[in-house]
């Protein structure tokens, strides 16, 4: 069994490479279910509704030019494109690229939880749009 240990995910937001500041990234590829159960059926039935893709990324805060704060702050409330790969190597069947287009940037927390003595982390939450997986 080949188990992948994440060590060098590639994460670009709005075509800006912020991989070295990423602590974790969660991709949710989902679809809404719409119930069509009717009388006479003995179990519930569903059909596919709208896509409900989402993504959440935790970054170490960096206020330097062109890093997390400079890149993320202007994106809140707008849509952008996010590209994530398990490693920085070329796209392949074992290193697929997930391209999240028209992703709405819901929130950005510049100081994280703001606790004394802690490294500030910012969590970026994206929703809407579509995630497409490519292997070539």
């Amino acid at each position: 069994m080949a188990v992948e240990i994440l060590k060098s995910c590639s994460v670009t937001i709005n075509a800006v490479d912020l991989s070295s500041l990423v602590e974790s990234v969660q991709i949710t590829h989902a679809a809404e279910k719409v119930e069509i159960t009717s009388m006479g059926m003995t179990s519930r039935r569903y059909v596919t509704g709208l896509a409900a893709d989402a993504m959440s990324i935790n970054f170490y805060v960096d206020f330097a030019a062109s890093k997390t704060e400079a890149t993320m702050y202007p994106l809140v409330g707008t849509t952008t494109t996010v590209v994530v790969k398990p490693t920085s190597a070329a796209t392949s069947a074992t290193n697929p690229t997930y391209t999240y287009s028209n992703a709405f940037v819901e929130a950005h927390t510049p100081l994280g939880t703001g606790k004394v003595g802690e490294v500030p982390m910012t969590q970026i939450t994206l929703s809407g749009g579509d995630i497409v997986k490519t292997i070539v």
Partner: protein, 50 residues
């Protein structure tokens, strides 16, 4: 067609290069300018000299 100078070293295109609108499709150009990644290049106007 608007052109932009790449200022940062972590943008998709190399620092110091010039990119046009069509190369930035799907991206939020305003956020890239506000974030210090791109700078709008002044548009050149044609002058007819005889």
């Amino acid at each position: 067609m608007a052109k932009y100078l790449v200022l940062s070293d972590n943008f998709r295109e190399p620092q110091g290069s010039t990119v046009s609108d069509d190369q930035l499709e799907g991206l939020n150009i305003e956020a890239l300018i506000l974030g210090g990644h791109l700078k709008a290049e002044p548009s050149k106007t044609k002058t007819d000299k005889e």
